[in-house]
Amino acid sequence: MARYILFRLVSAIPVILGITVIVFLIMSLIPGDPAQAILGAYATPENVARINRDLGLDKPMVERYFIWLGNMLTGDFGRSFSLNRPVLDEILERFSATLVLASVSLLVCSLIGVAAGVVSAARQYGWADKTITFAVLIGISIPSFFLGMLMILLFAVKLRWLPVSGMFEIYGGRGPGDLLRHLVLPSVALAVVATGVVARLSRGAMLEVLRQDYIRTARAKGVGEGRVLWGHALRAAMVAILPILGLQAGFVLSGAVYIEVVFQWPGVGRMLVDAILKRDILLVQGAVTFVAGCYVLFNIVVDVAQAMIDPRIKA
């Protein structure tokens, strides 16, 4: 297993390099003078000079890429001009907020989604299946930002059960209880779509597995239905479900952008939107690279989990 983990880590290096290339290529799509474009509204002569020096903008593209890459490897993601602070500091601070939101949502959608999928498959065409299928359909059709605002209207404005927005109370907050209260609405709004997707695909995976010959073998041995379903079948279905969960991490991170805007959550998504509107390109570039890198690492964890349940995978 250790060998496999090492193998996956090593094979992530070209992927992360690829990510930096793609980000760099996209950013080179920017029309006009690069320094002007990167700085946008902050294009004072000093800033332009600094950018030209840091990124070597007068140099050819390939060289510029390596300068940028080299800087990043030393932890220098450049400086955000709109916020006037190092990009990496800002990203680290904001990303932790996003991480809290996204991981809670991912946990919720994995547990509820898989459970709903299994129950739905086990009771195929029964009332439980129909209810779940219908709920899933609503879940995957409703825009999360619309749902978020509806939830604010109902639970925060009308019922006053939970806070409207933010991560902590401005005065006297900061405890875990406070965080939890603020977390409920955004994490639920964020989890709804992902839960729907996971439930739907888990149901499909379970139905596929339940038709397999080895399920019949288990029954022919006299294994009880509970164990057939939650043991034999779910274990085999997890081979198909785990990659979906890995994909959902990406969807949750993506959905977080909307949810952070709706709930004023101080995460990296909202920061990105602001940065794009203010045309703070260095901040965008750094944040996209950083988050994508984290996502790659997360997917390695998923792959390792996959290899742990499926002995056929070992490389």
Partner: protein, 627 residues
């Protein structure tokens, strides 16, 4: 095509989705000629008018613009953008996917690495990066959304294409002299098309959501132009004071996406042939039993008796009589061979015994299965389950698919004991080693920790047999246990089964299509044709002098080793489909002895001494034998 539409509309929700979509598209097309207010005309004196006010059906927004007009124009824009984005993504994704899947090898590796690279981004990051570079705007948002969805299409379509490219008809096309481009266009693409259609139809909704999302963030359509997302974005500041400006576009998106999803699911179900045949149904733990009456028990019960067993498959309006009044009896220590061609009902008979026929679509509609006189089919689930594997165990055909791929061999063996027996880990392990040793697997202790895929086919089938022996059953039902194996391995497995049976006094019901195997292993043989037993008797007698014309001619069909080069006597025609069985003898249409009387009424299995035959004009040699 009408059949296809009927399939879509058979699913009522999908039909509803289709109707809503059609209405929406029609409305959107008519928007320019409808008597609507100018969607961008501001009127700050009449801001936030509530819906259902006079002249303002849906009210106005924060600038006093007419919401109905903005909604319709916005829907038009959102739908168009979503559809265009989906088509763009599908086109490029198909191009990449088909190329990678068809050519495989290095082309595939390079293309798919690129796709993997793009999929390494949480998709919206990529979209945001593109918008950041190109600048906010609806067209740029469209490009971004299309671009980030290309990898999903590419991967999906590559999978399908690679599967198709490995099929023999592609080889046949190459042999017919077709070039790559021609094969891709005329052989591959028509088969991939349903997948593409389904993917597009299920993705349009997603694309509408995504572009709306970017517009909501202010990165898509720019003011004053309205699309559904930007309407939601503009409504956010007034969320609390004027919720209707939020609810109107929000509900619109919801309804659009939901109907697209409904329609997409309907299309998928209609285009997926597996769903069409109902094959994706989940088999229940016990076969559905709907018996009108239970036949009386025999006067002299054997160890296992099947009495007039009827098993049917209900698929749509068709009723397949897979097992049609089958009666069999197996004594203790006896080996009975059940022989027949595919579709004769031999495997279904075997599975019916312990209620293992998949239902849906299988139903046991009549007859009884009696184990030492007790009707198994009348037992509650818990009692039936305790018989499975303990007194009656199965060995199935393909050991690779019938062993669980993710559990170690040892765990699968010990589980078989544990469901019926409370034993310690050590005991279970010791017994598992003993079992593997019994089935002649070398190094049994080591093999316990192997996974099925690490063993060869022959070894896997030995594990299957060991698992069947785990609880010292009285009867083993072996459903073509050697059909998937090579002939030298088959000989080993047959020898093993024969030896186990003699050592342990096991009864065996052996299902096969091979007379040679029956002749070597079985005491008695029953021949099945179109769901019925047509002949039964001691193996040697039946093989030497078959009484039923089908048995005789089937034996003649099979070349036997040592016969040299020769012509075979074939049976013309095909067995009848079991959903439209003819009256009288099912074999009559192919039989050279058939007369008119064979095609009327029902024929009984006539018992004479140790032999039975369902034929009005049995082969003379056999009748002489009996006389």
């Amino acid at each position: 095509m009408p059949v296809f539409l009927k399939l879509v509309f058979r699913n009522r929700l999908a039909g509803a989705g289709a109707i809503i979509i059609a209405a929406l598209v029609l409305t959107c097309l008519l928007v320019p000629v409808l008597p609507l207010a100018d969607p961008d005309q501001t009127d700050t004196a009449h801001r936030f008018i509530r819906p259902f006010s006079e002249g303002r059906l849906l009210g106005t927004d924060h600038l006093g613009r007419d919401l109905l007009s903005r909604l319709l124009w916005g829907t038009r824009l959102s739908l168009a953008v979503g559809a265009v984005a989906a088509l763009l993504a599908a086109t490029f994704g198909t191009l990449i996917g088909v190329t990678a899947g068809y050519f495989g090898g290095r082309v595939d590796a390079v293309l798919m690495r690129g796709v993997d690279m793009l999929m390494a981004f949480p998709y919206i990051l990529l979209a945001l990066a593109i918008v950041a570079a190109l600048g906010p705007g609806l067209l740029n948002a469209l490009i971004a959304v299309a671009a980030v969805n290309v990898p999903f299409f590419a991967r999906n379509i590559r999978g399908i294409s690679a599967g198709l490219a490995a099929r023999e008809f592609i080889d046949a096309a190459r042999l017919a002299g077709e070039g790559h481009l021609r094969i891709i266009l005329t052989e591959l693409l028509p088969n991939v098309l349903p997948t593409i259609i389904v993917a597009v139809s299920t993705t349009i909704g997603w694309m509408v959501l995504e572009t709306a999302g970017l517009s909501f963030l202010g990165l898509g359509s720019q003011p004053p132009q309205a699309d559904l997302g930007s309407m939601l974005g503009e409504a956010r500041p007034a969320l609390i004071t004027a919720p209707h400006t939020l609810v109107v576009p929000g509900l619109a998106i919801f309804v659009i996406v939901m109907s697209i999803n409904l329609l997409g699911d309907g299309l998928r179900d209609a285009l997926d042939p597996r769903l069409r045949s109902g094959a994706l149904a989940r088999p229940s733990p016990v076969t559905l039993i709907e018996r009108a009456e239970v036949p009386a028990a025999r006067a002299a019960p054997g160890f296992l008796d099947l009495d007039a067993l009827d098993t049917r498959f209900r698929v749509g309006r068709r009723l397949y009589k897979a097992v049609n009044g089958v009666s069999l009896s197996i004594a203790r220590g006896e080996c009975l061979g059940l022989i027949g061609e595919s579709g004769s009902g031999k495997s279904v008979t075997a599975l019916s015994i312990m209620g293992l026929v998949a239902s849906p679509p299988g139903v046991i509609t009549g007859g009884a299965v009696r184990l030492e006189g007790e009707d198994v089919l009348a037992l509650p689930y818990a009692a039936l389950r305790s018989l499975r594997g303990r007194r009656v165990a199965y060995v199935f055909q393909d050991p690779l698919s019938t062993l669980h791929p993710l559990y170690r061999v040892g765990d699968q063996l010990t589980e078989a004991m544990r469901v019926h027996d409370r034993i310690t880990d050590q005991e279970a392990r010791a017994r598992a080693i003993e079992l593997l040793d019994t089935v002649q697997i070398p190094n049994p202790a080591e093999r316990l920790s192997a996974y099925p895929h690490e063993l060869s086919g022959g070894m896997r089938q030995r594990v299957g047999i060991a698992m069947a022996l785990a609880n010292d059953p009285d009867l083993i039902i072996a459903d073509e246990p050697t059909t998937a194996l090579d002939v030298t391995v088959q000989a080993q497995i047959l020898a093993l089964l024969d030896q186990l049976r003699r050592d342990r006094g096991l009864s065996i019901l052996f299902i096969t299509h091979d007379f040679g195997v029956v002749g070597q292993l079985c005491d008695r043989v029953a021949v099945m044709y179109a769901g019925r037993i047509v002949e039964e008797g001691p193996t040697a007698a039946v093989l030497a002098a078959p009484a039923h014309p089908y048995t005789r001619r089937l034996i003649d069909c099979v070349p036997e080793l040592g016969g040299g080069k020769r012509a075979l006597t074939a049976i013309p025609g095909l067995p009848p489909a079991v959903d439209s069985l003819p009256e009288g003898c099912a074999f009559a249409a192919r039989c050279d002895r058939a007369r008119d009387v064979c095609r009327t009424g029902t024929l009984d299995l006539a018992q004479t001494g140790g032999r039975a035959v369902r034929c009005l004009f049995p082969e003379t040699t056999a009748t002489e034998d009996r006389a």
